[in-house]
Amino acid sequence: MKFVNKKNIFIILMLLPSTFLLLGLTIFPFVVGLILGFTDFSLIRPQNGMRGVGFENYIEIFTTEEFWISFKTTLIFTFFAVTIQLILGTLMAVLLHHNSKTAPIMRALYLLPLAVTPVAATFSFRMMFNPSLGVFNFFLESSGFAPLAWLSKPDLALISLIIVDIWQWTPFIMLIVAGGLASLPNEPFESAKVDGAGDIQIFFHHTLPLLKPYLALAVIFRIIDAFKTFDIIYVLTGGGPGISTRTLNLMAYRYGMEYLELGYAASFAIIMLLIIILFSQIFLRKTNIYSTKVARL
């Protein structure tokens, strides 16, 4: 079959606009970033221009304690935030699925955290977390507990950030899983019920496996985005207390935008990119999203 046939032309035409657009917009920044990563360019030393330094930036980054600590912090944040969102989002999707009368309004309400302007929501949280004036400690104290230093104790700060991320993004997962649930065929469930299986069993043995592609999709996107989280960390803790909430992205921002060390920051960004590519490759292969079972033409 020659290459230029109806099928291939169709494929190319369908793919062309997106390819063109994405390439056009991302190739330049990517190449610039790549090149910058090999220089020590800094906006405050423009007279030096772009001096190549080979892999010096990369070596320096990998040998600083600061990189590994922020790496660890980013991992902890991403892992806990996404895992809890996943469980919570799935739980809520399931509950709504079985209580379809209230579902319509509830779903719209549940989506509000995604719809409210992030800067307003983040500042709202900042005030609510305030140890002496905030509403959270007010509730704690009214119930007889001691107030918490939400954003100022090292470990607690990271937990507070995870809480905010969960608040914002659980709806996203819930949305995707809800759709998945709505699409599941009914037969396996009916036969299982007839067989006398309990609800929980049905869920774990039947529903969950069928939901896997949707869960995987939701998770991969959340991992990619959570890895890049910036706004809430910057506004609520600024990386503190100490350096306990400094994630990789925050470090890259500090170096790039605050110290204006663009070369170094670019290397940081490239390393982050490589890390997330590695993780997603592993994840995608393990969850088999590239399913070959789907009949393709």
Partner: protein, 471 residues
């Protein structure tokens, strides 16, 4: 900058005409008229202000320059949401009337502004034409700022005798001068100093006197730190723009420095470590829980809500404290000098002048300069200070309207702190090209001290990191 000036600044004789216009009787007259429902506000300005601006317009004509030489152009003034914008915006119409130049404001939150400016200016943008400068060292090293000496000295653009540089605070004049080449790269627009605020009611109730030394400060903070209120609020957030400013004042007051005159990292000296230790102790034992994440906002709010007996932060807070629509402590705040460290007669409070600079790539430099000259000129300073802005002119600070809006006791305390401040110590650190990295480490050290970690260890570590960053 070692002036010790406790007497009211005397106005030079030719300023008398201005004084007459802002006299209290004028205020009373318009208050009567306002009460009669005849006049209230004009464009949101108290009516006497608008009237004064109209009266003051001929004062601009006295300047021996052609204000209209850039007529028909438009300039962009960029900055972060700040009282400076709020207080000079009402007068922009007069500026346009005077010069024919239209001014567009681009205002953002501080995070957004600090992100956007390097991208824009680093990308060679021609706007904003004038922008608020927060890191002089960075801007100068990157070549973003237009040197201003030429503009000051050009008789076609500036009437120096009318502009009266003698009226401007010395520290404000020295601030934007870049040490390495003695070139002026910016123009100061506000003046603030680290000042102590105390809640008189709480102090009287506890029978305590306002602390004058660091040890007294510690004792008072601990004594006043009850369940219902905090003893003191201080910034604690571990970011270069947060805890570092008040903390720096502590370091300077103990006789230390962040960066010394030779450009070397100096905050791991014995004196500096003592200061950092004391800062942490006061916060821990005398401050509210969670003080480690406090920024100016939390400090301001807490004191304003009457939840803290003391605060140690920028004198600019006075404008908000004195506003009964926002503040519960308007009648009970007493301002004081920053407490002195053991062995020192007076403190070295930290200070700050917001500056505006001209974009080196601007296409409207003449217009930009006219704006800069106008906004800091004697008449305009008088007007903006009447709304409560802490300007850079002695005439403005001692005008009746300013002391009404700001509070005369607040003004006195701020001025004394300002005169005790050591501008050089500040500049060595904050205007270092690598200031970001240095101040970041100082912030981590201070914040760790607040968290109770071993001061010597964290300071040494931070200092080493800072040294590495500037090498």
């Amino acid at each position: 900058m070692k002036k010790k000036n406790n007497n009211k600044f005397m106005l030079p004789p030719n300023r008398q005409p201005f004084r007459k216009l802002t006299r209290r009787d004028f205020v009373q007259a318009s208050a009567i008229l306002a009460g009669a429902g005849v006049l209230s506000t004009f464009n949101g300005l108290p009516v006497f202000a608008k009237a004064n601006m109209d009266e003051l317009m001929p004062m601009f004509a006295k300047a021996n320059i052609d204000w209209k030489q850039a007529s028909g152009t438009e300039i962009v003034v960029g900055g972060l949401q700040h009282p400076w914008f709020e207080k000079h915006s009402p007068f922009l119409d007069s500026f346009t009337e005077l010069t024919g130049i239209t001014v567009k404001h681009e205002i953002q939150s501080d995070t957004e502004y600090v992100t956007e400016i390097p991208v824009k200016l680093g990308g060679g943008s021609t706007t904003p034409d004038v922008y608020m400068v927060w890191a002089l060292g960075q801007s100068v090293a990157a070549g973003w700022l237009e040197p201003l000496d030429g503009y000051y000295n050009d008789p076609n653009l500036t009437d120096l005798s009318w502009y009266d540089l003698g009226d401007v605070f010395n520290s404000a004049k020295a601030f934007p001068v870049w040490a390495a080449d003695n070139v002026t790269y910016g123009m100061s627009v506000t003046a603030e100093a680290e000042t102590l605020f105390t809640n008189k009611t709480m102090f009287d109730k506890a029978g305590l006197a306002i602390p004058k030394t660091m040890n007294e400060l510690y004792d008072a903070a601990v004594a006043l730190n009850t369940g219902d209120q905090a003893g003191i609020v201080l910034r604690g957030k571990a970011a270069g723009d947060a805890v570092t400013w008040p903390g720096g004042g502590f370091i300077f007051s103990y006789g230390g420095a962040i960066v010394d005159a030779n450009g070397e990292i100096a905050f791991d000296s014995q004196e500096a470590m003592e200061a950092i230790d004391m800062y942490g102790k006061i916060c821990r034992d005398g401050g509210p829980i969670g003080i480690g994440s406090y920024h100016w906002f939390e400090c301001l709010t807490e004191f304003m809500e009457g939840r803290s007996a003391m605060g140690l932060d920028s004198s600019n807070f006075a404008t908000d404290f004195a506003n009964p629509e926002k503040s519960k402590v308007a009648d009970t705040t007493v301002y004081g000098a920053m407490p002195s460290a053991p062995g020192q007669t007076s403190a070295k409070p930290n200070m700050w002048h917001w500056m505006i600079g001209m974009n080196a790539n601007s296409a409207q430099k003449k217009a930009a300069w006219l704006f800069m000259q106008w906004v800091t000129s004697p008449p305009t300073s008088l007007m903006t200070s009447s709304l409560g802005l802490a300007t850079t002119r002695k005439s403005a600070w001692s005008s009746g309207d300013f002391t009404d809006a700001f509070g005369s006791q607040a003004a006195e305390a701020s001025l004394s702190n300002l005169s005790n401040a050591d501008g050089d110590l500040f500049k060595y650190a904050w205007f270092h090209p690598e200031a970001g990295a240095i101040l970041d480490q100082v912030a981590i050290a201070l914040n760790s001290s607040i968290n109770g970690e071993n001061v010597e260890k964290v300071v040494k570590k931070a200092a080493d990191k800072a040294r590495k960053a500037i090498s």
